[in-house]
């Protein structure tokens, strides 16, 4: 390949990654802008269409909860309704801001993760959110008789810890992925200097077509791989594709080490804690209300069921993120060298996004929830 074509390739791949990342960045910026709008400066945003419909639904479900909790005091059958509404409310509710959709999705794009792990992460963090809410209310309200303000302050502290952890998570990803990007860049540069001869390109195509059945049987072929790191990379990606990370792909199932073994869990734990430690304020209010009605257990059950609903929404977004990453990997594999570079660039971008989300949340420019007004 000559240098000009290579440069064009690089430009195209970088542009592609930027186009893909732009709306997400734009979203962050828009949110930022909203936060800075003066009270009378702008009318509140309009919620029409699908968003408005979901908003209206989830508000209704939330308000129905109080009636159902009251009813459950005298009518046992109201429990079924309470659980049903809690579940649906969880699903609808999580469409709104918060609940770690953005962070988990970005984390999944930055990392080599399977859709299974994406779903596992979503459920684990939603479960943790439910548990934190229950623990806070159980200790604060039921045991020490804390006031709403004390509970609000507790949530505020947990919130800051959570956002701080998200920043750290992003920073760690940025460090790891940034080095990966530089390594790939370096490899490509040194290959350019070596000016790859044509025959090897040809060998590569043969490899693409047949490697699944004749892996490394051909001595020349293996030699070709040893000579350039880039080819090894593209080979790796082909291989990943074989062990499809998509639920609808020609899946042989993920590789054993990719499954959530002890090591696997350890890898995702930081993300689960960072996202899941912050409880949903809605759950806390419902729990306190249930407690005041003398139905704390019903409140706990409702919180867990809500968490399952939340997890489903988050998992749906997470699966999309993994799917997008898988397609990106496929595209990258079809353009050895610069494809890989673009992929690494995308990962760095996602890592930066995780950091940015954490930073915006921490500085209050991006609000996920407010604990009433007190």
């Amino acid at each position: 390949m000559n240098r000009r074509i290579i440069t064009a390739e690089l430009a195209r791949n970088v542009a592609l990654a930027l186009i893909a990342a732009a709306p997400v960045l734009a979203a962050a910026t828009v949110t930022d802008a909203f936060a800075q709008v003066g009270p009378f400066g702008l009318h509140p945003p309009e919620a029409t269409g699908v968003a408005g419909w979901i908003l209206a639904r989830q508000a209704l479900f939330y308000r129905a909860l109080s009636g159902l909790i009251r009813a459950a005091k005298t009518d046992g059958s109201a429990y079924w309704g309470l659980m049903g509404i809690s579940f649906i409310y969880g699903i609808f509710h999580a469409v709104g801001p918060g609940h770690g959709k953005a962070v988990i999705s970005s984390y999944l794009v930055a990392n080599e993760e399977t859709w299974r792990r994406g779903i596992a992460l979503s459920f684990a963090s939603a479960l943790l959110q439910a548990i934190t809410a229950i623990v806070i209310v159980a200790i604060a309200a039921a045991v020490i008789g804390a006031t709403a303000k004390m509970m609000g302050d507790t949530v505020r502290v947990i919130e800051i810890v959570s956002y701080g952890l998200i920043v750290l998570l992003g920073a760690r990803l940025f460090w790891v992925k940034g080095r990966g990007f530089l390594r790939t860049l370096h490899t490509i540069k040194s290959e350019n200097r070596a000016d790859a001869p044509k025959p090897r390109d040809h060998a590569h195509h043969v490899h693409d077509a047949h490697c699944r059945h004749h892996e490394h049987e051909d001595a020349d072929h293996a030699h070709g791989h040893d000579r350039t790191l880039v080819h090894t990379h593209s080979h790796d990606h082909d291989h990943d594709e074989d062990e499809s990370v998509l639920p609808w792909g020609h899946a042989h199932g993920p590789e054993p080490e990719e499954l959530a073994g002890p090591g696997g869990w350890h890898r995702g734990l930081s993300a689960i804690v960072a996202v899941g430690v912050r409880p949903c304020s809605g759950a806390i209010i419902v729990l306190v209300f249930a407690l005041a009605q003398g139905l704390f257990l019903a409140g706990i059950a409702s919180t867990f069921v809500m968490g399952i609903g939340t997890a489903i929404t988050v998992a749906a977004v997470a699966t999309l993120a993994v799917a997008a990453k898988t397609v990106a990997k496929r595209v990258a594999a079809s353009r050895p060298g610069y494809g890989t570079l673009a992929l690494r660039g995308l990962e760095v971008g996602a890592a930066v996004l995780v950091m940015a989300f954490g930073g915006l949340l921490l500085t209050g420019y991006m609000a996920s929830e407010r604990m009433g007004m007190f």
């Binding site: 962050a28 919620a47 709104g96 009433g372």
Partner: protein
């Protein structure tokens, strides 16, 4: 392949983008408002007297841990510290109350609230926050608009069904109207236990969250 990639990334980005927008914010607090505009003898508006009733879940949350002499009831005195916290916290949000005088916006029209207290209704188990926002300078205007809403929509403000807005001591020729623009279907003071039954009627909510009081004095 390329198109699929772009398409999928775009779809993902849209989902992510949809997530943090304020329009999708979800309120956990509902406030039913009764508003009074207070007039001086010379016909100028001196302030806005608010009575904000919170929904029963939030009322239960807000009263948690507050000592009470009689179970199920709270006196004004018992609620006094909470009322103080409330009005002090509200300052940060400009009391969610914005004035427009003869078409001109005023970001900072009010001084700190006076005459504030909380009231508990043991039957409905709801709290009502009373407070008066005095104008920094009494307003003499042909057209005064007062809007009450949470720009971030964590609190859903709505007018009470009956006697939501009243003029106190206003010149006879002044007229008042209140509206929640683009949202005529949404009952402002939806009772909680009715929320479920009336759900079909409420689909139109949320087009615009601002509640506007308009006073015209020719």
């Amino acid at each position: 392949m390329l198109y699929r990639f772009v398409f999928l990334m775009a779809a993902l980005a849209c989902l992510l983008a949809a997530a943090p927008q304020r329009a999708d914010a979800h309120p956990h607090v509902w406030v039913t408002m009764k508003e009074e505009l207070l007039y001086a003898p010379d016909g100028s508006v001196t302030g806005v007297r608010n009575a904000w009733t919170f929904d029963d879940m939030f009322s239960a949350f807000a009263t948690e841990g507050i000592a009470q002499k009689t179970k199920g009831e709270f006196t004004r005195e018992e609620l006094a510290p909470l009322a103080k916290v409330n009005v002090e916290s509200l300052k940060e949000y400009a009391y969610f109350t914005y004035a427009r005088i003869d078409g001109k916006r005023h970001r900072d029209a009010f001084t700190d609230p006076v005459d504030y207290y909380l009231e508990y209704d043991p039957k409905q188990t709801v709290l009502t926050l009373h407070f008066t926002l005095p104008f920094k300078t009494p307003v003499k205007a042909k057209n005064l608009q007062v809007e009450i809403y949470d720009p971030e929509f964590f609190i859903d403000f709505g007018f009470a069904k009956k006697e939501a807005v009243r003029l106190v001591g206003a010149p006879a020729q002044c007229t008042v109207s209140s509206e929640k623009p683009g949202d005529s279907n949404f009952p402002a003071s939806m009772r909680l236990d009715q929320a479920f039954q009336t759900s079909e009627a409420n689909i139109g909510m949320g087009a615009d969250f601002a509640n506007r009081i308009t006073v015209t004095c020719p």
